[in-house]
């Protein structure tokens, strides 16, 4: 700053319930200090002596950089002036100081007359003498060190400076900025940093992230939840950064934010989903008007590639899990085989082709609500090929027989399933007036097996344990068990092309309290 330049105005709390405002209409000394700086401890008695001598003509604004430190300075030195609270560091930043102590002498209008950095005895003594025409500053200058370098101002601490700069620029961005040298390839750099799922990422430049944030009215610093295993705060901004990398458009952001909120619930249990050696991953199903608005695919090839919204929303959520939570293969992500659905798995339900209640209405939302539902899958979509059944009973019977494979044919009551019924199969089912409840009941009916068939045996040790079975009374042994513990473990949605008698099933993971429970959440911003 040049002499004569106007110093930044400020209003700071004085720690005694009041506030002090600069400029004050009188000459002033503005000085920044912090408690853990030995040089500031040298200047505090100097400032106090100057204040006692000159306080009648000159206002003193001594600002400390931490609230706790200010209390310590006050206790240690009992100065005749209040130590003002600049714990937010906004004033330190506005004054562009690198060092504490930094002293600014201002005239009545607040214009700079002189600045001192650190402690040089001659300079401070000269300043004191120039100001004290009759009132001599009562100080034994010779007892003070000749020179002491200052300490770094907290406002230039690398951990804080970016945030302060963003606040000063009124930018909503707070994430750490990473500079990639011009000679480096930014795509290779992001791979090297471990940000990627293995595919290239769109560089999340501040411009792109700001554009992504235009997709929501939510505060960029709002915390959606805490992502395990590293328990990182999932802010709207961090979600937006990962959405940019995934290749999303801003209008997808509300779906991603809501999906992340669902994923961060206790019931959904993303930590278990990522950590299991079974290779589980979230499947996201989107219902309601937002499907059309953001151009999601629910028809031909809905579960496959080729649609940007489907592909990138799923990927954004997975990247957020990876980057914010730190779940990475070999770390806390421990799948034996992995699963391509871990890249992305998101689709919309074709509600208009669904003669029954769509998924979200079945789960308690209004038809006009936009909702995202998370289901944990370990296999699939496993195709159910049935081009022959002409009755609903036959077709739902085929669903049941195919679903026997979930986990293992001898594993009953073990998991849940997301069944994606294709339009041609819907027509076969509705021709006979089948409801969703009928489909579920038929699946349970055809999969029901006597307990004795599900006991470990020479063919396979999977199933009910032999010792437990033998301890049961004869009547209990005759019990018949369907595939699923309850019909509610069969989730039904409609999607796919008009042509083709091929439905699909996502087999679940451990469900209920011990595993992952499907969670639906309304997308409030549509």
């Amino acid at each position: 700053m040049q002499s004569g330049e106007a110093l930044p105005a400020f209003l700071l709390a004085d720690g005694e319930g009041g506030e002090k405002s600069f400029p004050s209409g009188r000459p002033a000394i503005v000085c920044f200090v912090k408690d853990d700086c030995p040089t500031c401890h040298v200047v505090m008695p100097v400032l106090d002596a100057m204040h006692q001598a000159l306080g009648a003509q000159i206002d003193f604004f001594v600002a400390g950089q931490t609230s706790e430190g200010n209390r310590a300075l006050t206790d240690t030195f009992a100065p005749s002036f209040p130590v003002l609270d600049d714990a937010s560091l906004k004033v330190s930043f506005a004054y562009d100081i690198d060092t504490v102590p930094s002293l600014f002498l201002a005239d009545e209008a607040g214009a700079l007359r002189q600045a001192l950095v650190g402690f040089v005895r001659e300079e401070w003594q000269a300043l004191a003498q120039s100001l004290s025409e009759d009132a001599a500053v009562d100080l034994d200058w010779s007892s003070l060190p000749e020179w002491r370098p200052g300490c770094g101002s907290l406002s230039v601490d690398p951990l804080i400076a970016d945030r302060l700069r963003a606040e000063a620029e009124n930018s909503p961005l707070r994430a750490r900025k990473i500079e990639i040298a011009s000679a480096d390839d930014e795509f290779e750099f992001m791979f090297d940093q471990g940000f990627s799922d293995g595919l290239p990422l769109v560089p999340p430049t501040p411009e792109r992230v700001l554009r992504m944030l235009s997709g929501t009215r939510r505060d960029p610093q709002e915390v959606l939840g805490v992502m395990p295993p590293n328990m990182g705060d999932v802010t709207v901004e961090k979600a937006a950064i990962n959405a940019v990398m995934a290749g999303c458009r801003p209008e997808y952001l509300p779906v991603i934010l809501t999906a992340l909120e669902a994923l961060l619930t206790e019931e959904y249990n993303i930590h278990g989903v990522m950590a299991t050696t079974m290779g589980a991953s979230p499947v996201m199903v989107v219902n309601g008007p937002i499907r059309e608005r953001i151009g999601m695919n629910m028809k031909l090839g809905a579960l496959g590639q080729g649609n940007r919204a489907n592909a990138t929303i799923g990927r954004a959520v997975r990247l957020a899990v990876r980057n914010i939570g730190g779940a990475q293969p070999g770390g806390t992500e421990r799948s034996t085989l992995g699963n391509p659905m871990k890249f992305t798995m998101c689709f919309a339900e074709h509600e208009e082709r669904n003669p029954w209640e769509p998924l979200h209405v079945e789960r308690g939302f209004n038809a006009e609500d936009s909702v995202v539902t998370l289901f944990t899958m370990t296999s699939g979509p496993t195709l159910i090929v049935d081009q022959d059944s002409r009755t609903a009973g036959q077709l739902a019977g085929s669903f049941g027989l195919s679903l026997e494979a979930a986990f293992h044919p001898k594993a009953h009551f073990a998991t849940d399933v997301l069944l994606v019924v294709c339009p041609e199969h819907v027509d076969t089912l509705t021709r006979d007036g089948y409801s969703k409840a009928d489909i579920r009941a038929r699946i349970q009916e055809v999969t029901a097996r006597p307990l004795e068939e599900l006991v470990e045996n020479e063919t396979s040790a999977v199933g009910f344990k032999k010792a437990a079975f033998e301890a049961m009374d004869p009547d209990a042994r005759k019990r018949v068990l369907p595939k699923f513990k309850t019909p509610d473990d069969i989730h039904l949605v409609v999607a796919g092309a008009e042509a083709g008698k091929f439905s699909g099933a996502f087999h679940g993971w451990a469900t209920g309290e011990i595993g992952s429970i499907s969670v639906s959440k309304k997308i409030e911003e549509v």
Partner: protein, 92 residues
């Protein structure tokens, strides 16, 4: 230069990739003086030791115009194109 925003929870410092370590030194070796006082003294010693122990290598000396600023792009490109190894000397 491209600036990107950190997608992580920022608990780990950003790391830069190290070049692969081959286990032996051969070819052209650049010695870069960052132009701090006595950096040249250190590099003279290094040059003598390297020449004695590794007679097969060719040593080339470079200097940054000033230690206070990053090396100019042209100098970095020249070092990169003409050398297999680089030793950068600090000083004081």
């Amino acid at each position: 230069m491209t600036t990107i925003l950190d997608p992580t929870n920022e608990r780990v410092p950003v790391t830069r990739q190290l070049s692969p370590r081959t286990g032996e030194i051969s070819g052209n070796v650049a010695l870069l003086d960052i132009s701090k006082p006595r950096g040249n003294v250190l590099l003279d010693q290094l040059e003598a030791l390297l020449s004695e122990r590794l007679p097969g290598i060719r040593i080339q000396r470079y200097a940054k115009p000033t230690f206070t600023k990053p090396a100019p792009d042209a100098l970095k490109a020249e070092i990169f194109e003409n050398n297999d190894f680089l030793i950068e000397a600090l000083a004081d």
